[in-house]
Symmetry: C2
């Protein structure tokens, strides 16, 4: 009997755990699900006799090591900063590891040791990063096979709300870790634009007002996602002059979030202990002097008309309200998160929607060609979300193929950019409704 350790039983784990459990009986696997929250585990394993619940403190090395030691493979959905501990345990006990998180600098440093141990630490194996790497490299490799030269590569992805479930002026709901929204773009972004390395500071991330068209959905706004340059080497597109990874949102969202940043509401260092109500908070952040009504003051502060839909969006969040602030939020970021958790919560029947689009320009036999490859996938409801499916299944599928020896795992700290991984994984994802449509112009 082989054992797969799944570390983390949060939002994104439903499909991953169900997938592994569905393959467990024939393969005689035991799926050990570890989390600090016993209820979350119970919800996910639904009394399966092939699953085992492990309620542990993931920060306790002995707890972790006991589980890692007994596992044949580890799949981690833990928050990114905890991965490094698990990775060290996996190296010590010689276990393959799969995660959906970005390769951190510490993780990258382990590459030599992981290779030497003959192990696979496959990172960035979710949706974005994950499916984007796999499909991008599939396009790049197939383009290069016909000796075409890729001059521009732009890749967009977003977890959105399906139009039919969209009932708020921000056009956004949480289908993944809410904290990631608050900190989105906080480190700025970098990309290659027309041969130049472009750096975008945090303050300007959301103000670009740039849009793309997605078939069947119309216009979506995007903002640059972290450091695209990091992937230039991994994608092997030497002649490329534009290289961008970006995040998709509804245009109103970007406009609104840009205002949120300008109002300083994502600040996690300010002290807001003295403010008692939401309007006091907004007043403090904007230096309100009572000369005009607060709405008008905020409109002036943002250099917009008081009738601008932005004011309505802020109002919808309750920011002009006299309701008392409950609890003791230490910073604006903390208070903002609390507000959004309530306002952007999915109801059980809400459908989310994942959109990914690659736009590739290449020269083939002297002709400039524009290829668009897109995926749009709607979820069924909050539990069976498109986000949980697209984040969880790539890890599950790769895990199954490696442990059942259908795929020889490459060695090192990796991202899924190699055909030996993306080909079989994408083929199976297709049977689960995850797939792209290509258009060439």
């Amino acid at each position: 009997m082989q054992t797969i350790l799944v570390a983390g039983a949060g939002k994104s784990s439903t499909y991953l755990i169900h997938y592994l459990l569905s393959h467990a009986p024939r393969n005689k696997w035991k799926i050990v699900v570890a989390d600090g929250n016993a209820d979350a585990i119970r919800e996910k394993i639904q009394g399966s006799s092939f699953a085992e619940s492990a309620v542990i403190d993931i920060t306790s090395q002995s707890d972790r090591q006991r589980l890692v030691k007994e596992a044949d493979m580890v799949v981690s959905l833990m928050p990114p900063h905890l991965h490094i501990h698990l990775a060290k345990d996996c190296l010590e006990h010689k276990k393959n590891l799969i995660t959906s998180s970005y390769v951190s600098p510490e993780m990258r440093e382990m590459n030599g040791a992981v290779k030497a141990a003959g192990l696979m630490f496959m990172c960035e194996m979710g949706l974005d990063p994950g499916i984007d790497h796999m499909t991008a490299n599939q396009i790049i490799h197939s383009t290069q096979r016909v000796t075409a030269t890729i001059t521009s590569f732009k890749s967009y992805c977003g977890g959105l709300i399906a139009p039919e479930s969209d009932d708020n002026p921000w056009h956004y709901n949480f289908s993944w870790n809410p904290k990631n929204i608050i900190t989105a773009g906080i480190g700025g972004a970098k990309y290659l634009g027309n041969g130049k390395e472009i750096e975008v500071p945090y303050e300007n991330i959301f103000d670009g007002n740039k849009k793309i068209k997605v078939d069947g959905l119309g216009s979506l706004a995007y903002y640059p996602n972290r450091d695209s340059l990091r992937y230039l080497d991994l994608y092997e597109v030497p002649e490329v002059r534009t290289f961008l990874r970006a995040t998709l949102r509804h245009p109103d969202f970007c406009k609104g979030w840009n205002a949120i940043i300008r109002l300083g509401l994502t600040d996690d260092q300010d002290k807001i202990e003295t403010v008692k109500t939401f309007e006091q908070w907004l007043a403090q952040k904007t230096g309100y002097d009572n000369e005009v009504p607060l709405r008008e003051h905020v409109a002036r502060y943002l250099k917009i008309a008081p009738t601008d839909k932005l004011i309505h969006m802020l109002e919808w969040l309750g920011l002009f309200g006299t309701a008392p602030i409950v609890g003791q939020p230490q910073s604006s970021a903390e208070l903002l998160l609390e507000i959004l958790l309530r306002k952007w919560e999915m109801s059980p029947s809400d459908k989310d929607m994942v959109v990914m689009q690659h736009e590739v320009e290449y020269i083939h036999r002297g002709r400039k060609i524009m290829l668009t490859s897109s995926m749009v996938l709607k979820g069924e409801n909050r539990e069976y979300s498109a986000m949980a499916k697209t984040v969880g299944l790539p890890m599950g599928v790769l895990g199954r193929m490696v442990i059942s020896k259908k795929l020889t795992p490459p060695h090192g700290v990796l991202i899924p950019n190699m055909p030996s991984v993306y080909k079989p994984v994408l083929a199976e994802l297709h049977h689960h409704g995850i797939h792209f449509i290509e258009k060439v112009q």
Copy 2:
């Protein structure tokens, strides 16, 4: 406020009802779900304030008419023989109707009256029939646009069990109406083979041992599905010499079911009141004389070795057992259904799998081309099955587009073979993970 009446809250209705409910708030629709079973309705509508439960006796004309009168559109998932009553009500009260059932002769007779009334009665709008018509005609029309001549058209579809949930020697579970299995092929089948009309009597439907290959799945067996000739005119392929619609199953299933038929176990006219145990039943059906053990006798009867896996498959159904038959089944067909309902029941976490493949041969500029278009879709579990999704969503999507005037409904008793319907519907199904991959050789 517009009202959509959904008649029938059975297995295939989950996705349809959820889909309509998810679009109800923005469109201000009321979704009335009518069924004889209050629990089934409750399960599907999950307390939505946009849904209304109508527990009715569908055979009561006054019950039906009251609901039809108040509706702006009717979507029916009732058993086929009840559709005609609902259709008459719809004609009388001038309401559009969508169903997933085959066009019955009585329904076809209503065509003139339905057209004259300016109504759309869209039938065969599920998976098969339904998605097969839409994708087949999409292929046919796009092939004809390049002035190619289609010489062979074969279309296969099956509701199967996903390999990971497959734990029985028949490789089959019920993802749809179990009664349809018992009566499958009972009227024989017709198709066009190499220019000749071929009729297959019931006794030979499952003995063909014919197979196709599906990418990623390997070989599947098929048997001809009803009267393919009926679609020759509807598909408009005048030069075609082979035209076949067929049902896909695991090869072992066809072998086993062929034996079931030869043993007379699908007979719904025989009298089996006197048999007390399963082995007595089998003995009676095969004229057992106690000379050799029953297993051996049955093997001889079927002209196979006693070690053939068929014997194991029959054994797995309990047919050689001495267990007493409970209840008072009137016929073999009735008893067989009772057995299969237990044996082939999906567990809540079982995944089903829908497979559809079109194989088209055409001549283009003197060259013979073979086009394969395939869909494989796995379900999430018993409730969110691929079958419920592929049967229910086409009706939901068409219903939404018609009632919200995004699509001008064609008039008459129809199947979805026209571009004005299949284009927008297939585009939206794609966002729900339902789509095909084409290969040309």
